[in-house]
């Protein structure tokens, strides 16, 4: 994944070392670093500082680069008026549950498909993968009808975290990702464990899972970001103000709240995922490419 300095790319390294090539290289690098910073970080700067401006300052032309009189009150208002503590806690709670459910059930499914190999295992895997072909938007209505009146049990999962957790567990992509990883673990290890008298469950716990830490990390991070970024599904199944996620809560308040306070709340809502990304960026990026290239 890391750039091998010996690898030849579009432009040869020799060319880049020579006088003119070198000058162009550094000039282009400078342009790209500055340009990318402006394009990708600029809007975030605008967001964080914009939320510090007063209503008058935000409407002034031309807009000011720095807030003249920082209104920290906007952030405080966002936190208090939107009850962000509650919204963030809800989202965190749903995300944690989603990680736990996915780790336990998706790992079990992938383990059985990869190592225990039940009859019709490939048929089941094929059916699971077929669900990847159905766009989420098409599933919204049938999934909603299922959740408001769960078959057999006839209970409604509205406002219950299970309405978020259960559909997320049926995640063919994660099961496939885990299965591919388990497939790469040598059968010899399984045989050795069997010789030592380990049960399949014991083998999973003591041999497979410790070897699978990287992929389990990737699945967990993706589960957290999926819950944090999701909007329509939590909006539908969490109708009460007390159970909303942070994105849905901000959207619900956006109409009657001053613009700068909405932006301040948006900044606060984005902080957890940005921190998560900065800490785990290597795992996230490698998971992204394993999932799509080799998956």
């Amino acid at each position: 994944m890391a750039q091998d300095s010996g690898t030849r790319t579009l432009i040869s390294r020799a060319q880049l070392r020579r006088g003119r090539g070198r000058a162009i290289y550094w000039a282009l690098l400078a342009v790209v670093v500055i340009g990318f910073t402006l394009v990708f970080l600029g809007p975030l700067y605008w967001m964080v500082t914009g939320a510090l401006k007063s209503g008058q300052e935000i409407a002034q032309t031309p807009p000011s680069l720095f807030p003249q009189d920082p209104q920290w009150q906007n952030y405080a208002d966002a936190w208090n008026n939107l009850d962000l503590a509650k919204l963030l806690f809800n989202t965190f709670y749903y995300a944690t549950g989603a990680v736990l459910f996915q780790l336990v059930l998706d790992t079990a499914a992938a383990y059985s498909l990869s190592k225990l190999r039940p009859i019709f295992g490939n048929v089941i895997l094929g059916l699971m993968l077929a669900t990847l072909m159905i766009p989420a938007m098409v599933l919204i209505v049938p999934q909603y009808v299922t959740v408001i009146d769960l078959p057999i049990l006839h209970v409604s999962l509205l406002d219950s975290p299970f309405a978020i957790w259960l559909p997320l567990v049926a995640n063919a992509f994660n099961i496939f990702l885990l299965k591919r990883f388990f497939d790469s673990i040598p059968e010899d290890l399984m045989a050795a464990a069997l010789m030592d008298g380990a049960t399949p469950l014991r083998t999973l716990w003591s041999i497979i899972l410790p070897m699978s830490r990287p992929i389990l990390g990737v699945v967990s991070i993706f589960a957290v970001t999926a819950v944090w970024k999701d909007f329509l599904w939590p909006k539908l199944v969490m109708p009460s103000p007390e159970t909303r996620t942070v994105s849905v809560g901000i959207y619900a308040f956006a109409g009657g709240t001053p613009m700068n306070v909405v932006i301040a709340a948006s900044v606060i809502a984005a902080i957890p995922t940005v921190i998560l990304f900065l800490i785990f960026q290597r795992n996230i990026m490698s998971g992204l490419t394993t999932g799509s290239l080799k998956g």
């Binding site: 990708f40 032309t61 938007m137 209505v141």
Partner: protein, 270 residues
């Protein structure tokens, strides 16, 4: 079962007013639900908008990450920083990013970020989301900014798998930079390019949150209404889950065409 999903909307309060399926009754209605959805005055507008979003997003959101990846692949410095920058917007909750665009970037007065930049460059300013012509491009720009990081990093990984000898040989044959991109880079990443094109089409056809937040749903003169937004409207505001499901099936049939191509490509890969 005492929680009624419609209670918060205040539309339905009594059990006998619930739609038939909630009372456990189903009646065969033939094609009624499909007919009703086809009669919706916004039906064809929604499809037109969704297709034009998909095409615009393909033009912008497809080419841009590929060239970003080619550029990043040539650099030997600051690559980690640049990679983080490109992927950072992907990690933002879409609502946060879209409120930023809605309130600050697409402010139709000259206090808005984009208009201030246009004015500084002595270019004509725009009404953005207030103008039916600009609604679509504005949504594509926001969506591309939010989503291109994933594609760029996937291309980057694919570019790093191209054997250096191919470029070497092309250069010895006198191929310039553009011809090397055309005859080495593109063919070598053909499969992943085709794969991501399919995935992007399927994703952009489900356009929903951009119109909802940037355009308050329908937008100026219905210029933002998307098929997914129509599903949402029918299912959750017009008490017409049946019509919404019918529209979902229509969407599935349309996307199945694209998915068939996708399946054929992945089958070839194995």
């Amino acid at each position: 079962m005492d929680r009624c999903p419609y209670r918060s909307t205040g539309r339905l309060r009594h059990r006998h007013e619930l739609p038939a399926h909630r009372r456990g009754e189903t009646t065969w209605v033939g094609w009624d639900n499909y007919v009703r959805i086809l009669d919706d005055p916004s039906f064809w507008t929604a499809w037109k908008n969704t297709f034009s979003f998909t095409v615009l997003a393909l033009l912008l959101g497809y080419a841009v990450p590929f060239f970003v990846a080619i550029l990043l692949n040539e650099f030997r410095h600051a690559t980690g920083y640049l990679r983080i920058l490109v992927y950072l917007p992907v990690m933002l909750p879409p609502t946060s990013a879209l409120f930023l665009f809605k309130f600050y970037a697409y402010d139709p007065s000259e206090a808005g970020l984009f208009n201030a930049i246009l004015k500084a460059l002595h270019l004509p300013t725009s009404q953005w989301m207030q103008s039916p012509e600009m609604t679509m491009p504005a949504m594509v720009i926001a969506s591309t900014w939010m989503n291109m990081g994933g594609a760029a990093l996937i291309y980057l990984a694919a570019l790093q798998n191209i054997p250096g000898e191919l470029y070497e040989a092309a250069e010895l044959d006198g191929a310039g930079v553009w011809r090397r991109i055309r005859h080495v880079t593109v063919p070598q990443t053909r499969l992943i390019l085709a794969l991501l094109a399919m995935l992007q089409i399927v994703a952009t056809m489900q356009l929903f949150i951009e119109p909802l937040i940037l355009a308050n749903g329908a937008g100026a003169e219905d210029s933002a209404t998307s098929v997914a937004y129509l599903i949402y409207q029918h299912g959750f505001f017009q008490n017409d889950l049946n019509g919404a499901a019918a529209l979902g099936v229509i969407m599935l049939v349309v996307l199945a065409g694209f998915s068939a191509v996708y399946l054929r490509l992945t089958a070839k890969q194995d």
